[in-house]
Structure formats: structure tokens, C-alpha cells
Amino acid sequence: DAGITQSPRHKVTETGTPVTLRCHQTENHRYMYWYRQDPGHGLRLIHYSYGVKDTDKGEVSDGYSVSRSKTEDFLLTLESATSSQTSVYFCAISGQGLNQPQHFGDGTRLSIL
């Protein structure tokens, strides 16, 4: 298994509170991604990173921000959580070059009450 660790694995919080999810990799891969998975929608890309301090928006980026200060860590922040952000969040990594597969962490189940 690719060395990807997501923390926390489960979190319950209240509407309006800030939440930060962490993704840590030991593979030294350049690219990192955050997805959310919801019933009926599959996985949708929130943000991705193509290097330290280099990030860009995905399909569903509103309400989320990211940071990458080190190659191995990619943080996803919900500045003020809303109930619509209740979801399972997955981090993925991929290497450089064309036709590279992505490797996923085991996800963070986030519930916002």
C-alpha cells in the first residue's frame, strides 16, 4: 500500500466551526489531491497540489482552502463548516509523468451537525 495517512479518521463537529484535515505521504510524490465522496456523486475533486506552495481549485472548491508547506503534507481546511460539507474526504497522490495512477488514503468521515 502507498504510504498515505489521513487524520483524523473520524470527526464530528458543529456548524460554523473550523476544521482541518491532514494528509501525510511517505512516497515523495509531487501531486496531491483532496476529494469528497457523497452518495450519488462518486468522488469529486476539491483542490489539488502540484508542488510545495502550489495549489489549484478542483470541481467543488467553494468553502474549502488548502495548504502545502512540505512535500509530504497537504492540509484541507473548512473555514466555517456547514452541514452540506458532511462527507467522506479522501486524499490521493500521484507521481510525475503522463498516465500515472492515483493512490488513495483510507478517508476521513466528517459529520457536521
Binding site: Y35, R44, L45, S94, Q102
Partner: protein
């Protein structure tokens, strides 16, 4: 927007039978990938087929790609109970090297293999 759509949404078969899942997509792609997800776990990459390939094999898996119909199929032969999982297709539309592969996933096929 959903680029890949899997069909069927759910499939139940007996051990030893073959399972076929289909994926359709809307725009030109660079490659198409299949992933498996066991309950409560992350996605695991199974196979990648490039836009200039028509068929690819990996163990009991066979993937076909028809770019003229914008469709792909995943065949699992001689299914086992351990194959029970959700299967997703994902398309990569970016042909450029040196960029992130921003995949677009379908909604998945839930496969149940019974003894």
C-alpha cells in the same frame, strides 16, 4: 459534472461467474482508469488504459476501450467473494505531461459476489 457513468449501478452474481461493468463518458480523454473500493476503505487502482489502446489485461481483469463510442468495460472473470466491492471508472482528460492528473469519477458499480 459527471464525466463517467457506470452501468449497472449494482450487480449480484455467484462465485465463479464473470462480472461485466460498463462506463460511458462524454469528452475526449487521455486515459481511463478503473478503481476498486472496499467498504470503509480508500480506492485502489486496478488498471489504466490509454486512449490509443483498445484492450488491456491484468490477471482476471480485462478492460476494453472504445473511443468512438466513448465507452469502456471492465470484465472480472471467475469472480470470488473477495471481489465484492464498488468499482469506479475515472477519466483523465489532460494530455499534458508534467501536470496533475485531475480525474473525473463516475458514480460506481456495486458488485456483490455470493458463495
Amino acid at each position: 459534472s459527471q464525466q463517467g457513468e457506470e452501468d449497472p449501478q449494482a450487480l449480484s452474481i455467484q462465485e465463479g461467474e464473470n462480472a461485466t461493468m460498463n462506463c460511458s463518458y462524454k469528452t475526449s480523454i487521455n486515459n481511463l482508469q478503473w478503481y476498486r473500493q472496499n467498504s470503509g476503505r480508500g480506492l485502489v487502482h486496478l488498471i489504466l488504459i490509454r486512449s490509443n489502446e483498445r484492450e488491456k489485461h491484468s490477471g482476471r481483469l480485462r478492460v476494453t476501450l472504445d473511443t468512438s463510442k466513448k465507452s469502456s468495460s471492465l470484465l472480472i472473470t471467475a469472480s470470488r467473494a473477495a471481489d465484492t466491492a464498488s468499482y469506479f471508472c475515472a477519466t483523465d482528460m489532460d494530455p499534458n505531461t508534467g501536470t496533475a492528473s485531475k480525474l473525473t469519477f463516475g458514480t460506481g458499480t456495486r458488485l456483490q459476489v455470493t458463495l
